[in-house]
């Protein structure tokens, strides 16, 4: 779990209880704390910009199963299932 056991985690402070990104409503912002997944999954999400310490914002929900998320200057569409493994605070 990148961000929980590595030094990359250090800039992110657990000021609030970590919660999955899938629980944020459109318009809400938070900071990435860690990605909870296997090696390949975590690497993929980090490559998309979900690096611990980075600010993310949920823009809108094109349908109940997915969200458009702004992360590191790009807008990315992801399923709620995937976002439930990205923890923010």
């Amino acid at each position: 779990m990148l961000g929980q056991d590595s030094s990359i985690n250090e800039p992110a402070r657990f000021s609030t209880l970590p919660r999955p990104l899938s629980t944020l409503s459109p318009g809400e912002e938070a900071v990435v704390l860690f990605v909870d997944g296997g090696r390949g999954f975590t690497k993929r999400l980090v490559e998309m910009g979900f690096v611990p310490g980075v600010r993310v914002r949920v823009l809108f929900s094109p349908n109940p199963g997915s969200r458009i998320v702004e992360v590191m200057g790009a807008r990315i569409a992801l399923s709620v299932g995937i976002l439930s493994k990205v923890y923010v605070g």
Partner: protein, 237 residues
């Protein structure tokens, strides 16, 4: 006159201005086709500069070269297999942080890199002033500021492509610390003895191997030195 055709790959994250740069470089001399066996569009173009004929291949827009998506696989295979003389990475100056990840991957692929630092007008309007000379120094890669939509910097980019072709400067490898470097050098040693593997950049192969990259893993499984690799990876964890 000797044959002086330069093969250039154009790469960058999505929406950085790749098509704009491609059109400015090649003008009307373009051809659109498909990548062999794929439905992904392949754009090629040509231009002449300082007596050189330059063949430009527009690669798909990608955030990384992990080869998970078809676009990434196309971009990566082109760089690894075709070995273009120069790779131009279009970097969005208004979003440097995200764009630097692809730069890092291209450095590891040992591509002969030129960076086009595009959208400097947009960056400026957002209050960013990117010190392109410092960036170039830190990375040991030529950096050319451009505004593709206005054609600004395109001649300088052409100059930089020719200079990098004539005088390639290997970028500084990124060091990952003692433990990882130890594993990397053991893997590189093992790869060196395999004829098939030694056509790839060995350091890159080693790093991909440590990342458990699927494409590289299947390459190594087929190779003669699989047992040795398993041994090294045993130390790693």
């Amino acid at each position: 006159m000797s044959k002086r055709e330069i093969l250039v790959g154009l790469i960058g994250n999505p929406n950085v201005g790749k098509s704009s740069v491609f059109n400015r470089l090649t003008g009307a001399k373009q051809r659109i086709g498909n990548w062999p066996g794929k439905t992904v569009e392949k754009k090629e173009g040509w231009f002449r500069h300082r007596g050189f004929s330059v063949h430009v291949v527009d690669l798909p827009g990608v955030y990384s070269l992990s080869a998970i998506s078809i676009d990434e696989a196309i971009a990566r295979d082109f760089i690894v297999e075709e070995k273009p003389d120069v790779v131009v990475d279009i970097v969005d100056a208004s979003n440097l942080e995200r764009n630097l990840y692809l730069v890092l991957q291209l450095i590891e692929l040992e591509a002969n890199l030129v960076i086009a630092l595009n959208k400097i007008d947009l960056a400026q309007s957002m209050g960013f002033e990117v010190d392109h000379e410092a960036l170039s120094r830190e990375l040991s890669i030529p950096v050319v500021p451009t505004i593709a939509t206005k054609g600004y910097g395109i001649d300088e980019l052409k100059d930089a492509i020719i200079s990098s072709f004539e005088n390639p400067q290997p970028p500084k490898p990124i060091s990952y610390g003692e433990d990882v470097e130890q594993a990397i050098s053991e893997l590189v040693e093992a790869f060196r003895s395999d004829a098939e593997l030694s056509k790839y950049p060995l350091r890159w192969l080693a790093i991909m191997c440590l990342e458990r990259d699927q494409t590289v893993a299947s390459l190594i499984k087929k190779s003669s030195i699989y047992d040795k690799v398993k041994e090294v990876l045993g130390f790693e964890r």
